[in-house]
Subunit: 695 residues, 2 copies
Amino acid sequence: MTTLEDLLCPRSIAIVGASDDPTRIGGRPLSHMINQRFDGAVYPVNPKRETVQGLPAYPTLAEVPGEVDFVLVAVPAAGVAEVVRQAAEKHARTVLIFSSGFAEMGGDGIAMQAELSRLARETGVRVIGPNCLGAFNSATRFYPTFTSTIDRATPVPGGISIASQSGAYGSHIYMVSHLRGLGIRYWLTTGNEADLHIAECIRLLAENDDVHTIMAYAESVKDGPMLSEALETARAARKPVIFMKVGRSAVGAAAASSHTASLAGEDAIYDAVLRSHGAWRARSTEEMLDIAYACRPRIYPAGRRLGLVTISGGAGVLMADAAEDAGLDVAPMPADAQAEIKQVVPFASALNPVDVTAQFFNDLSLVPRFTKAMLERGGYDGLIGFWTSVAGSPVLATPLLKSLTQAMKGREDQIFLQSVVAPDEIRKAYEDAGFPCFEDPTRAVNAMAALMAFGIAFEKGRADMPEAPALPPLPDGPMGEREAKRLLAEAGLPVVEDRLVRSAEEAAEAAREFGRSAFKIASPDILHKTEAGGVRLGVTADDAAAAFERIMASARAHDSKARLDGVLVSPMIEGGVEMILGARIDPVFGPVVMAGLGGVFTEIFRDVSFRRAPVSADTAMEMLDELKGSALLKGARGQPAADARSLAQALSQLSIFAAAHANTLESVEMNPVRALPDGAVALDALIVTRKDRAS
Amino acid sequence: MTTLEDLLCPRSIAIVGASDDPTRIGGRPLSHMINQRFDGAVYPVNPKRETVQGLPAYPTLAEVPGEVDFVLVAVPAAGVAEVVRQAAEKHARTVLIFSSGFAEMGGDGIAMQAELSRLARETGVRVIGPNCLGAFNSATRFYPTFTSTIDRATPVPGGISIASQSGAYGSHIYMVSHLRGLGIRYWLTTGNEADLHIAECIRLLAENDDVHTIMAYAESVKDGPMLSEALETARAARKPVIFMKVGRSAVGAAAASSHTASLAGEDAIYDAVLRSHGAWRARSTEEMLDIAYACRPRIYPAGRRLGLVTISGGAGVLMADAAEDAGLDVAPMPADAQAEIKQVVPFASALNPVDVTAQFFNDLSLVPRFTKAMLERGGYDGLIGFWTSVAGSPVLATPLLKSLTQAMKGREDQIFLQSVVAPDEIRKAYEDAGFPCFEDPTRAVNAMAALMAFGIAFEKGRADMPEAPALPPLPDGPMGEREAKRLLAEAGLPVVEDRLVRSAEEAAEAAREFGRSAFKIASPDILHKTEAGGVRLGVTADDAAAAFERIMASARAHDSKARLDGVLVSPMIEGGVEMILGARIDPVFGPVVMAGLGGVFTEIFRDVSFRRAPVSADTAMEMLDELKGSALLKGARGQPAADARSLAQALSQLSIFAAAHANTLESVEMNPVRALPDGAVALDALIVTRKDRAS
């Protein structure tokens, strides 16, 4: 398997299409590597020149005398495939292609890119790009990139790495990271992803010992299951992945698909997949960088209890608000610790937020005393201090830092973020002492929320994923409700009992047996049964014969050509909480499973929860808990609690069913499912196979 | 009426408790005014010294020789009231009190503060504080504050002003504003608000010609109606108010007896009030400052169409996502304008976001051409450009700025925010050319959303507020459903017809007349009718007698002492959309009105909309549109659309009812209200009066 060393630690590089002009695309990487003193051999390839930027040039890649590990390509699209072939002959491991004019242009470009993919597969040479801005390894000063940011922002050492589909945006992330003082080790842009794609980049970074934090940007992901694996590799290595997936909005998605010409995949599923593997989905670049910065001490608390200590009561309230928004627990201090603080400053707020008050100006020792009380007695998983420009004051900066350091003595494994307004050199002193600093207190809270989410995910580890047995293919063609329910029942799912009746007499008999019943037309040709007059609820044995005749007549009137198998009779099941459970095959992630509250909640409030399938019953319980309306299952509004465990069990079974039929299934939905106080049961089901869809 | 000049433009100041030590609370303001050269007379008052910080000192305020406009008090709490009395005798206009030990300490402090309030009221002297950090007027270099930030950050001229309840947080806001290069004209902290409070500050700032943008911070507001007036004054003057109201997470503590009250939470009302008057509620300091900064050109577009032009397709997608989150419309370019762009760069995205692509590096004229096409043809209300560090490049910064300026020639009334990563001097050049700059593109989008919200609110102006007639007081004591419905019907509200029946015969007769009927126990002592077995739905004439007897028996069994008036019979009204309409008297804002979807939507999803009452039917329509579930009223899921106009009319009537009864009402709720395709009707109602509550 490829490693990051294979890709970005070469001993030699050939630049095909090298330019003597250091401002041109083919000239910049050469200029970077000369200026930065790349730790290896550099061979410009240019048939028109003897030397390029002072180095001897070679007319073709084949004529380069030594071994070539890495080939950079900056020639027009038409000539690229030939360079890849030559690179393979030269036993290069990697070819990075700047050239555009491939899939992003449509037409012939698509075929030309497919040829690059094929060459990568067949020769084993790894291809980065085409249409990418390059990559770098700052440790070996290896800069195969034409971004100009390198000239203005020479990378500094550090364990953060960046993978980005977008070159220009990848440069932006790099530049802003640099300005924040973040050391970037590896930087990769993947462009059109003929071979190397973003999910694999994350795996490579997760496997590399020099990388401790991963930032990623993507508009789409080619291989959802590989993304899952990559995120699990990072989680196992306790490496935070901060992932920005754009194209959430309708306009954004349209812009992304025109930009990269790739299949989008549903955004809510990305959301669920990232979260379920412990990655943090960043909504803005600033958020991404804030979190990467807060990761520098590499302390990830495995809990959400947040202690706040502040010099401003107002800032305390503000941070408490932000903490609640972020799902953190601003738990109160134990009573004895509160009493201790009150003894020192009677009018201090000691509950949490703990307010050192203006008394602080008279007695700086309050800071270590108060924070010690919080750390020792509060049992907080993390602390944030708000000191505003007091921390930047020429008089107070040093004593404050000293007292904070003193408070943390022996607690170096705990995280204490600071909100300070201070000149760079003072801020740096705080950072060097292990305190990440944020000017804005809300941003400090949000960064803490991410650290805690990482810590909890690292602790929790990988979710159980049950085995999906190989099952025989699903039957072809449209499938009626009865058939769908039968298949699901066979797979162990709780579906309501039914009987197909073909006469008024049979109908009456069934209703006698079931009690109050639901009557529904059974026809493979009628999908919208209610519209066809094909549904009657609460039918009693007395009404049954008439109900049968009316349903058959209505259905006939609705569609004279429809095949009518008869009427499906089921016992009426009422009460409980109406749910929808479903699964489908996502183009990016494969089988995914979904749970939602019924009807309006799913359609209008979009209160649904997703996971990659299959899921265990425990994971299914988590999915139910994630619903905004989960309170309903717990028995809100005077109703009894629903049997969530049975519902979760059904969801797990459904996910296994979907995964087992991934090759022939398009989607399956049990709607409604009634979550009763004792058990859960599906009243209707729909299975769509791929052949149905194609037809 | 007081003006800001009265408060913060004095010709003279006396500092009672002035200290010779410039680091002490009583010494700092004097030191500030000496260092900054305050444009007026300064009289230190200190009985123990001949001079204070080099100025002649006076033993008492009375002994100060000249006129004193402004008195600053830094003596212990016990002596403060006497100073206020002396200040009144001296015909001072304003007393600003640093001293703590008042209401914030509880106990005697509360009475001492009440005395200050009384003195202010009776003498006409305006009191700022107590327990406040002070204020400033940077134009006259008047610094009656002990914040130390002034030493490190001398205010620069500008039209932004700050009002904050919190002193420490007010200092933080000032400091961060200063670091952003924002000129702050007036800065006020109100502390305990014995007299001057935050709402009045906003009014004073709104009325002052030197102020163009207002930032405010509050934990609570003393006078909700005055806040409304202040915000309307600002709106009429086209001055943005950026308001940070903290304490969101403490909501729900003030739960009241009625249903609406318990889920309202005061915070949701602040939210609604701020929005309805065109103020922007900031969630973080950074957001507040971003918006104040973006207000500098004072251009507020009255629409939400956003044009995006970018050098990175990825950033375009990201900004489109952020725009959708912010409710902006990233509308596509007209086809002809797209064609024009495609002619120049065939592979450019021309839809919006418009991507200038790397082609930009070869031809900078693309920028004015593309942006001109967007401005002239796109009809956008505002534009954002993303240029990242290209805008900071030594080579490209100047030509890019030139081309942006050229594109805006003749369009100086349009707003064009820039996302750039550039050194301070380059950023300043952009700002001087009229382009506010943001490093982070998401923050640029959010700032634009605020500018557009201001523009729309300025254009729209004040909402009609109908007259609330004076009505006779509500009856005392607990009120049954029937009485509540009768009162509401008299006020013109649509409530379902009902009849009180006292025997099985009367019940049968009513059911014969109404058709299928709803039976409910009528008792002033039974609030939870369903629990008491007191409700039967869908009763026919045949079942009526039995239903009557069963309800009466169940109610008797439930509470043998309850007064049973009989059974209330109404025609069954089914279908439509179930809503809750309510109103209550909020302690801060007075009468407020509320609309929500029924049951679960209101209780669990908290999908409710508020306004100060009374509201016009038009405003009521806006309230319905604000509901997340408003799609249900428009006929989602194959249902007919509800008669939203009738519903809005009812909501308006209910708000007038509440406002008219503001003196005796606690809360009123119509729940459920069925919004039918034709009309709306309340099926139940509850009125709680203040006397009910007290009992």
